[in-house]
Amino acid sequence: MRRHAALVRVTHWLTFVAFVALLISGCEIVISHPRFYWGEEGNVNTRPLIVLPIPASRDTVPTHYHYVMPDQNGWSRYLHFEAAWVAVLTGLVYFVYGFFSGHFRRRLLPSRQDWTWRAYRGRLMKYLRGSWSEPGEGFSYNVLQQSAYLVVIFILFPLIIWTGLAMSPSFTSAFPATAALLGGRQSARTIHFFVSCLLLLFLLVHITMVSLSGFRSRMGAMIVGTSRKSKEVE
């Protein structure tokens, strides 16, 4: 039985590859200055909002570790922006498809009767009792899945792109509001970091849930598009 459309499968894996590249390169970039600020400016002479408890890859950043990590910013930055293009262009195709094919409306928007706390609580309780896949969930999403995907697609991804662009001195010369609305360049950087943490959290939960609800069947559905009945409850 058909589970995922070809376009959804292709954009899913492209996004996955781009996201992993963004994550790795993002980690490399952030260790060159593992301090976060709020507002427009921020440097080692200003008070940080948060300092990550890790050594830095530049000796100009004071840390307690007496150790300077290897600096990998060059290729990391090239990779970060190339992968960002893959993610943005893929996302654009997926967005257009999602709106016009009815994918968002039919698959991701919770149905009317699920717009209640009771529906959320109901499915959550089943998860807590260890029911990873309810009947029918091999072919359609439950309300918690739908909500998680909607948050990722319509809030976290747009926000991470926005905050990324708000750090570009050239882009903000054309669109100063992208930085100003967030409170400044350093606020944008801080939000960018926390949104990426949320996206990483989503990725980890996503992989865990796929594994718990039948890794072979779910992976098969996202690779070849069809899901065959297996021992697990479909």
């Binding site: 400016e41 090239y78 001195p169 100063p176 950087r189």
Partner: protein, 252 residues
């Protein structure tokens, strides 16, 4: 083969052909309008070219964000790159009276300018942010003469495509395209926050480009060469940045 898969096949074929045709057309267009950066080769080339092309189309003339005087950083941070050379120390001991800025290359009138020559040119100032690729930033007022004034004085020849610029140590070199070189924000900077530009911040002379990351704002500006062929410089990648693994265009 059923009707649905045939339709998909035809649609896919048409889409692929259109895509390839579009790419070929985009390549011709990009070359013609200078939308390809010098470091467009290798695995990072496609992303870098997309970024640069979009920025050139979108932001060739837009002005950098400026800030109110109250937002000037109380304690700006300077990365220590003071050249320890004897030559620099001698120049500093003489109050940089003997500092010269050489302008040559594809210009009608090559120039050798002292700091007081530069100070006699029309001055402008801007309160802009300098942001390092590491992530930190500060806001300062930068005072100087727009690079376009210096280039107009030298008379750039029509075939010019890039402006190459060197620090006092020859290994430190950068380049920018003509859009950035002629942009009013691109400042041959002599002063910072109402005083002379301090040495840790690049004094006596720094090229400031507020619309690109800090590493393009080369300290100890010493020599400017206008060129019609960027491939002749270094490894032909536009600056020391790609040679050290960093992007040539740093407007992101």
């Amino acid at each position: 083969m059923n009707a649905l898969s045939r339709r998909k096949l035809i649609f896919g074929g048409v889409a692929a052909a259109a895509g390839l045709g579009g790419l070929a057309a985009a390549d011709r267009f990009a070359k013609r309008y200078g939308l390809i950066p010098p470091d467009s080769g290798g695995w990072s080339g496609p992303g870098e070219t997309l970024t640069y092309a979009c920025q050139r189309v979108l932001t060739a003339r837009t002005a950098a964000r400026e800030f109110p005087r109250s937002m000037i950083s109380k304690k700006p941070f300077a990365n220590e790159v003071e050249p320890p050379t004897e030559h620099f120390k001698q120049l500093a001991a003489g109050g940089f009276k003997d500092w010269r800025l050489v302008v040559d290359g594809t210009v009608a009138r090559p120039l050798v300018l002292s700091l007081s020559d530069l100070k006699s040119m029309p001055m402008s100032s801007q309160i802009t942010e300098i942001a390092c690729e590491e992530g930190w930033s500060y806001v300062a007022e930068w005072i100087g003469t727009p690079l376009s004034n210096v280039l107009k004085e030298a008379g750039i020849l029509p075939q010019s495509q890039y402006v190459v610029y060197y620090g006092v140590e020859k290994w430190a070199w950068e380049s920018i395209d003509m859009a950035d070189a002629m942009h009013p924000n691109t400042l041959v900077t002599l002063g910072m926050n109402d005083g002379d530009l301090p040495v840790p911040f690049g004094g006596p002379l720094r090229l400031r480009l507020p619309r690109q990351l800090g590493y393009k704002s080369l300290k100890y500006l010493h020599h400017i060469t206008v060129t019609d062929n960027i491939r002749k410089f270094g490894q032909g990648l536009g600056s020391i940045d790609p040679e050290g693994g960093y992007a040539w265009y740093a407007g992101i």
